[in-house]
């Protein structure tokens, strides 16, 4: 129960995410900071990005992102700086490296399998009439049988 209350408190405090005093004066730089923030996880929260989160840690991370940008880092450099520091866990969109290839390939591979299965099924279904009357009459006989059984 205590954990539940803790969680709810984390949940209950998204009143403020980005505060006016954190924002950079340069709108282009600020826009980049916002873009980067949306892909970074607030580490103490549950599945929230640091842009939306009100946790203190999220604020620290937001400021850190802005400091890197002010220092002249590119978006990628800022991201990799944070990954080095906090680990892969900080990325909301995992990199497609190593075992993560499974994550990224699961959808497309399943799509190919499903499409193949679908095509095979449809071909089988559409070929049956080619065999002529026989197939249909078996069907009809069965249906008749069913009706008789009631």
């Amino acid at each position: 129960m205590k954990r539940l209350i803790l969680i709810l408190m984390v949940l209950a405090s998204p009143v403020w995410a980005v505060e006016p005093d954190e924002m950079l004066d340069d709108p282009a730089l600020e826009a980049r900071a916002r873009e980067i923030s949306k892909g970074l996880r607030c580490l103490v929260c549950r599945n929230e990005n640091i842009d939306d989160s009100n946790a203190d840690l999220a604020r620290d991370l937001r400021i850190e992102v802005r400091e890197r940008l002010l220092a002249g880092d590119s978006n990628e450099e800022t991201m990799s700086f944070l990954v080095d520091r906090y680990g892969e866990y900080v990325l909301l969109k995992p990199t497609a490296s190593g075992s993560n290839k499974v994550l990224y390939l699961a959808g497309p591979v399943m799509m190919v399998i499903a499409a193949l299965g679908g095509v095979l099924y449809l071909r089988r279904r559409s070929r049956i009439p080619a065999r002529g009357e026989e197939a249909l009459s078996v069907d009809e006989a069965k249906r008749l049988d069913e009706i008789m059984k009631g």
Binding site: M1, A12, P20, L122
Partner: protein
């Protein structure tokens, strides 16, 4: 003495639950044997059992509600989740605002569906009905045992405190208060499809009639899921303070996966009903749909995949739920593997036909659900097997999921107009040319006038237009140029309305994500500023006492071109009982846009932090959800289910007495 009364009532509720478990055990076994041996007496046991089980659980639920309403703080659950100063509405909804109570609601709905299967199932063949009720009884046993052994809501406290510890103020909101019941009606509603599938597998028979019987139940469950998800997303939009409406959180995914599979199931059941094809696939989908409901319960309540709104995080409960999941889904799949061969398809159709279009629908929805599933469990899999602790969040899902919805949107209007058996693609496309031209024109126009470079907005609106216009063309063609418009079956209307709803939701999501504007700044009282053509003025800030909170209320005037549009009052509330702050955003709702204003903390240098958003087409998201649910309801009320029910009743009577 009222306290004494309350004591008795809680114990009565507890006993009623135990009794319900006993009856569920009987319901799970006796009718099954009866159906196997063709003993009518044994089969008939299912009916009073289902009714009594429902009444007993309703009694238990009533007892718990009574404890909440009368603030009976000798009950542990009431102490933790209620407070005497809470408004009555939230005392009532507080019953399911916690793990134990929500599980009891879940069980209540399981038994309600069991009872309903018996009330409306008079037209079913007796053996099938007995088996359905038996499977429903098994689900009842599993969840009643879960409640009684791991999540008993009727536990007493040693010493009753004077007052409760309140409810999370964030949950004191009508949107969220009614979100769980709808969601559970949806989750549990899918158990009916499951019971039908398992009963049909035992019976060894899936025919057109089965498709017709199972479809209304799935449709009802899907309508509830749609409303539940819509309510939850709407609540997040206006309550969480920045207007986010979907976060791809594991708990949200837990409700979204069964929704996607239910959509697939709805459509494949049509093929079973009309063409007696796709039978084994439909049965499999019915099993998977309920499987996803169970996975949802497991994800939400085991806390194994961390998420923003996990309810209870308890390993014991998690293991129990995992066990339920394995037994039901594993058992059903084993049965499926053994029996699938008996379900021989009958219908014959061409490569281009309504049937094949529905196969495409099922592939896209099935794979989309699979992608969401993989993304949801990947952090767990990765940590367990690859020792990599990582997150899978919104950016991944947006990228991996969206293509399926775009593809679905593109093929839907064409597929929906293809005739059964054998179709000519050219003929259908020719009818849809006006819709196509309109959609492309809308997309091109928006591309030309928008200042952003992104294709999201124009593509989304083009798809939405294509869906709505395509659905209307379909309706027009069906009604022979509008002549029979009001004589069309309601299912045709339902189809048009639901498909248009999908288009409207797509328009809302794309428009909002593409063209949203945001402004964060410190504002002095009396100061004005501009956002997306609107002028926002902070007139003043007041502190006011509320029902059980203290409010900081800002008065904000919204105007455009010097003309005042409305006065908005965003609030920040602090609930003294729990000490939690909440934000009450003020929204000026509009057909084409929302203006969303939030007040923050007072600043050291004077003035208030303020956030304002311009949210184009926001309401279309939920408008579309309402249309989808409405379309489902229209379809559900179609004559063919009622007439067919009557017709089948006569046939059922015709069966020789057993």
């Amino acid at each position: 003495m009222p306290a004494y009364n309350g004591l008795m009532i809680a114990e009565l509720g507890h006993f009623a639950l135990i009794l319900a478990l006993m009856i569920a055990c009987i319901q799970a076994v006796v009718p099954l044997i009866g159906a196997h041996k063709r003993w009518p007496g044994w089969m008939a046991v299912a009916e009073p059992a289902a009714n009594t089980q429902f009444l007993l659980v309703a009694l238990a639920f009533g007892a718990l509600m009574y404890a909440f309403i009368t603030s009976d703080f000798s009950l542990q659950l009431v102490v933790t989740n209620s407070h005497s100063a809470k408004p009555m509405l939230y005392k009532v909804t507080g019953v399911w605002g916690n793990h134990e109570g929500s599980m009891l609601l879940w069980v209540l709905i399981v038994t309600l569906f069991g009872a309903m299967a018996q009330w409306f199932g008079g037209n079913l063949p007796p053996t099938l009905r007995a088996r359905i009720l038996a499977v429903q009884g098994m689900i009842g046993v599993a969840f009643l045992a879960f409640v009684l052994f791991t999540s008993n809501p009727f536990l007493r406290t040693e010493v009753a405190p004077f007052d409760g510890r309140g409810l999370n103020p964030l949950l004191q909101d009508p949107g969220l208060a009614f979100h769980p019941p709808f969601l559970y009606l949806g989750y549990v509603g899918l158990s009916m499809a499951f019971s039908f599938a398992v009963a049909a597998l035992i019976e060894g028979r899936v025919d057109a009639a089965w498709g017709r019987w199972v479809r209304p139940w799935t449709l009802a469950a899907w309508i509830f899921l749609t409303i539940g998800i819509g309510l939850g997303s709407w609540w997040a939009y206006y309550e969480l303070g920045w207007g986010g409406f979907w976060f791809w959180d594991p708990v949200e995914n837990a409700s979204f996966m069964p929704w996607l599979v239910a959509v697939a199931l709805l459509h494949s059941a049509i093929v079973v009903e009309k063409r007696e094809s796709l039978k084994s696939w439909t049965v499999l989908l019915a099993i998977i749909a309920f499987g996803f409901s169970l996975i949802g319960a497991f994800i939400t309540r085991s806390g194994i995949i961390t998420s923003v709104h996990a309810f209870a995080t308890d390993p014991e409960r998690g293991v129990f739920l995992l066990l339920i999941l394995c037994v039901f889904v594993g058992g059903a799949l084993t049965l499926f593997a053994a029996r699938a061969s008996v379900m021989e398809a009958k219908g014959v159709f061409g490569m281009v036909s309504r049937e094949s279009a529905l196969v495409v629908n099922n592939i896209l929805l099935g794979v989309a659900a699979f992608v969401v599933f993989v993304g949801t469990i990947w952090p767990l899999v990765s940590e367990m097997f690859f020792d990599r602790k990582l997150s899978v969040g919104e950016p991944f899902f947006n990228q991996a999921f969206t293509p399926f919805m775009v593809a679905l949107g593109l093929v839907l209007p064409i597929g929906a107009m293809l005739p059964w058996k054998r179709a000519r693609l050219g003929r259908v496309i020719r009818k849809l040319i006006p819709a196509m031209i309109l959609a492309v024109a809308v997309g091109a126009l928006l591309w030309a006038i928008q200042t952003e470079k992104s294709g999201l907005g124009p593509i989304g609106l083009m798809l939405g237009t294509w869906l709505v216009a395509g659905s209307l063309v379909d309706l027009w063609a069906r009604s022979a140029g509008g002549k029979r418009l009001f004589r069309l079956p309601r299912a045709d209307w339902g189809k048009t309305v639901a498909h248009s709803g999908l288009g409207v939701t797509m328009v809302g999501v794309a428009g909002l994500l593409a063209w949203e504007a945001e402004d964060i700044r410190v504002v002095q009282e009396g100061e004005s500023y501009d956002l997306a053509g609107y002028t926002i003025t902070l007139d003043g800030v007041e502190r006011l006492p509320g029902a059980n909170y203290i409010s900081t209320l800002a008065i904000v005037t919204l105007s455009k071109d010097g003309r005042e549009i409305s006065t908005l009052t965003p609030e920040k509330r602090v609930y003294p009982v729990s000490g939690q702050p909440t934000t009450e955003a003020a929204i000026d709702n509009g057909f084409l846009r929302d203006v969303y204003v939030v007040i923050g903390d007072p600043q050291a240098g004077g003035g208030w932090a303020m956030r304002a958003y311009y949210k184009p087409l926001a309401n279309w998201i939920w408008g579309g959800s309402i249309l989808m649910a409405l379309g489902g309801a229209l379809s559900l009320s179609d004559r063919r289910y009622r007439v067919a029910a009557g017709a089948r009743k006569t046939r059922a009577v015709g069966v020789p007495a057993e």
